[in-house]
Amino acid sequence: MIETRDESGVLIIELARADKRNAMLPEMLELLHDAITSNTDALAIAILGQGKTFCAGFDLKACANDPSGDTMRALLTGLSKCVRTLRQHPAPVVLGVHGAAVAGGCALLGGADIVVADRHAKLGYPVVKIGVSPAVSSPFMLASMRPGIVRTRLLDTDLIDGEHAYKLGMVHELCDAPSDVHDRAVEIAESIASKPGSGCRETKRWLNEICAVSDEQANAGLNASLELTGNNEERERLAALWGES
């Protein structure tokens, strides 16, 4: 579900569940977390998705099949842990979004320093539609985007394209074609890894201090999402959505 390789100081992590549009499962997020934490010597990290899209978010079929809500809880907790870990990793993180980054997939933007996407990629957080609160992402989004944009994006279920996301500052560089995204994201990561001395790492550490997300804030966001998990609204909407598809 996660594949990693090291190319001259760049840790490349690929979401590898292409047949499910890289939809996240709890064990996949554990593997992602392990991949990030096991390589603290990396000079830059590139996170990519295999197949046609970067990431479609949580595996909603797995969530719908577990009415106890435990799968959803594990996914929310795992996502929060991964985003925190990406942010705290000493190396800059480049995210390459091709095709789509939806819901939990889009939440990974909160852990990235640089986001590359294709012009027509679909991005957004349409999770209130299924009775889930995106509060888990809010502290990290607020630390990387303008507050008015975060508010609209987290509450509105609409998806926006890469070009619009670039104008809003959610995406920092655009590629014309989805097939260009991986190469460009890795190229940026390689360029960062090749810079001399400790300038990049110190700059990231300092930016994390200026735009800090405290554990208290991150936990408050996660708990706000967890509190809703397993309620009737979520169960009914998940079942209805899954039934429709």
């Binding site: 640089i114 630390a143 960062i192 110190e202």
Partner: protein, 258 residues
Amino acid sequence: MTNTPATSSAVLLKIEERVATLTINRPDARNAMSVEILDAMHDAVDEIKDSASSVLVITGAGRALCAGMDLKAVLIELSGDAGMGERLLTRLAELTLKIRGLPQVTVASVNGAAVGGGCGLTCVCDVTISHSDAKLGFPEVDLGICPAVIAPWVVKKLGPGVARRTMLMGGIMSGEQAYEIGLVDQLAPNRDALESLTNNVAQRLASGGPKALSATKRLLNELDGSFDETLVLKGAKLSASVLATPEAQAALAARMKR
């Protein structure tokens, strides 16, 4: 009425009615920030604070606004002074706080290069005007150094995400690209058109009520934490400590030889 106060030749200060213009005047070194330049800027800003002007325009003589820190001064093997980097960076940090705290609305008119600390100076200003062919950016990480001293201002200007991308990737961008990401607020089509655009903007700003302008600016400064001196001064110390590392000194020496 034009008033030309007595200032050092390192900066030129002109006060015309309600618009003051501070020109960094070291064109042969692309207006790089030396001790002399920073001292002169401090004195000029003190003078402007007490003047009747409502708008301050900051620009550079020659082909650049400011090329950043004076590399000769911060390269220890040339200056022989290991403490110079921290002194310069602290002086720059204090200058940015002083400019931000001015009651006047400040306008950076980027006539050419605005690089590193020079680009940081534009982020401290309330409005930045430039032209399509200007060169702006934060290439510190390309030299193994850290733009910590100006990072708080860059984050306030660009927002956290775009600031992060811009400072971590390093490099230089055109005026047009800077306009696209919000680093430049108004863009002239070319260098020749910049002066007229700057004058128009400065006059328009100066036509506002002086008390209303300064009260609005003060409130904006309070809301965005601009009066937090601790962060900027801590940033200066961090920039200085990274600057003093052997890797950074080697990269700077290699750049000087180019």
